[in-house]
Symmetry: C2
């Protein structure tokens, strides 16, 4: 998606060859007009899929999921990262490792909101190692929900998550795939799609 | 807002005289059509305010903030609940106490995304004791931002947060104010507004 690549080139900050900051428009301040344009692309790309739910994980995915769900006209569900006393016991639970924060999280979705009748589009801001995505896919598997596809804003193409998921047969629709970044020049190479 | 009150009566679950669950449409599964209707009410109520930014706190506020920001045509910023290694050091930081989770959080907003030129609408899903809101207001104060108003989905009118904020002079636009709840009958009394 050219708009997103241009925006990453303009406002993204390459902190190292592995770390790209997009906090001015995606995951701290949110440019919701951009989110809407992203949602339109996914809506077109998944026009033939019977998607009835958008699934993401807190926190950075929630804003994108809300705008995408609006575009699709379906509800969104966000997986929670720790047991809240306000969640009932009847939940799907899995563990994910966060490389960003260097710890393991419990990830939880209430059984009320995901089941065999659900056709899910999973969305998230980043795909790198794919640990968060593996957790969400695990929850969908246990719930019996059908994963129609995975929509990612920024995929780090030099990390294994995307390849791994595509090899498993998932449709991974990443709107920008970064193949390499240079923290000296702030130059970013995107994969031709 | 009658639509929200009706929805709370239909799908809300009174867990105790203090705890109301709205996780099927607000803070776990999100009914984004409802969010849009809520956003329209705030857009009308704050039509004369020069709002250029929507501010909330992760995680439950983010979906609402994204939809509200879309309606206002402005960016949204969500405060983060703990120091992430991907956040630069230049941040506003305050501490808030969560009664729900029984712990104290660091709350952080990057200085890049809030400053004296900002006219902010703060939104959140719940207002009870007002601890999270006090934290966001503290950050706005230090940033020199103008708080044009506070939009709340569900205010617990039997807890002191709303009164306290109104006494301080803030415009608190709560779309549903629960004055009392009965966990035996699931009956909810809303304040006439």
């Amino acid at each position: 998606m050219k708009e997103l690549e241009d925006r990453i080139r303009r406002d993204g900050v390459v902190k190292s060859s592995q770390v790209l900051k997009v906090d001015s428009f995606i995951n701290h301040q949110m440019d919701v007009e951009l989110f809407r344009d992203m949602a339109k692309v996914w809506h077109k790309d998944f026009a033939d899929a019977p998607i009835n739910k958008v699934l993401t994980i807190e926190a950075s995915g929630i804003g994108i999921a809300a705008v995408v769900a609006t575009e699709f006209g379906v509800p969104a569900v966000f997986a929670k990262k720790s047991q809240s006393i306000n969640l009932d016991g009847d939940v799907y639970c899995t563990k994910i490792k966060s490389f960003t924060h260097g710890r393991v999280y419990d990830v939880i979705v209430s059984k009320k909101f995901l089941g065999p009748n659900d056709h899910v589009l999973i969305v998230d801001d980043f795909l790198a190692n794919g640990c968060a995505m593996d957790g969400l896919l695990d929850i969908c598997r246990v719930a019996g929900a059908t994963v129609e596809g995975i929509g990612i804003a920024v995929e780090k193409g030099f990390q294994p998550g995307g390849k791994h998921l595509r090899d498993e047969g998932y449709i991974v629709d990443s709107l920008a795939i970064v193949d390499s970044m240079d923290p000296q020049t702030n130059e970013i190479e995107f994969r031709h799609q």
